[in-house]
């Protein structure tokens, strides 16, 4: 199992803050799998500016995801 977290506008749009799913592969593959849920999810995970972190470290589409990982998706940051 991996834990998938969603933050801010993405969390609100999807209507969920986290998921536990069985997945191993790449970030791009995980996005593709999440996109199959419905049109809303597909639209969100097609956004080019969507950011990803694996175990709280910035990750890219080709980054590997493996069992036990915490994968987070979030919009561009707006702190400060």
């Amino acid at each position: 199992m991996i834990k998938v977290l969603f933050f801010a506008k993405l969390r609100e749009t999807l209507g969920t803050s986290d998921l536990d799913i069985d997945y191993a592969g790449t970030v791009a593959g995980l996005k593709a799998q999440l996109s199959t849920r419905n049109d809303c999810w597909a639209e969100q995970f097609a956004q080019e500016n969507l950011l990803c972190a694996i175990n709280q470290q910035v990750a890219a589409d080709e980054s590997p995801v493996s069992k036990g990982d915490e994968v987070a998706f979030f919009p561009p940051v707006t702190g400060g």
């Binding site: 801010a8 500016n49 470290q57 979030f74 919009p75 940051v77 707006t78 702190g79």
Partner: protein, 148 residues
Amino acid sequence: MIKVLVQVEDFDAGAEVAQLRSTASGAIVQFVGVMRDNNQGDTVASMHLEHYPGMTESSIERIVVEASERWSLLGCTVIHRVGTVLPGEQIVLVAVSAAHRHAAFQACEFVMDYLKTQAPFWKKEQLHNGESRWVDARESDDRAAARW
């Protein structure tokens, strides 16, 4: 000496700066980000700040470590609030002490520019008319961070 805090409560900027003072520190620069009551032509009643507990703190620490590799620093304190913030209230403090002012000024601006573009915080504005909206990231902030 690095201090990074993410907290709901307000902070005492003067007390934080006092803690950075030492016989070796010839310069202390502080930046305080304050919430404005208007944005993009609308009156803002309050703001909610969300973060990613754990990653937010570690990403700020990483930025401060990078600053201390670029400039000779004696101390750096970063405090960022989360939760609900009202107009006129403090949002963020970056305070840097160094032997000389050049390093302190530069490092303070560097930390702030990086924090704005790399640390996972998200702002949601509650407008006076009852609507709420997520604040979009600004290209000008990306440009500010890219110049370092």
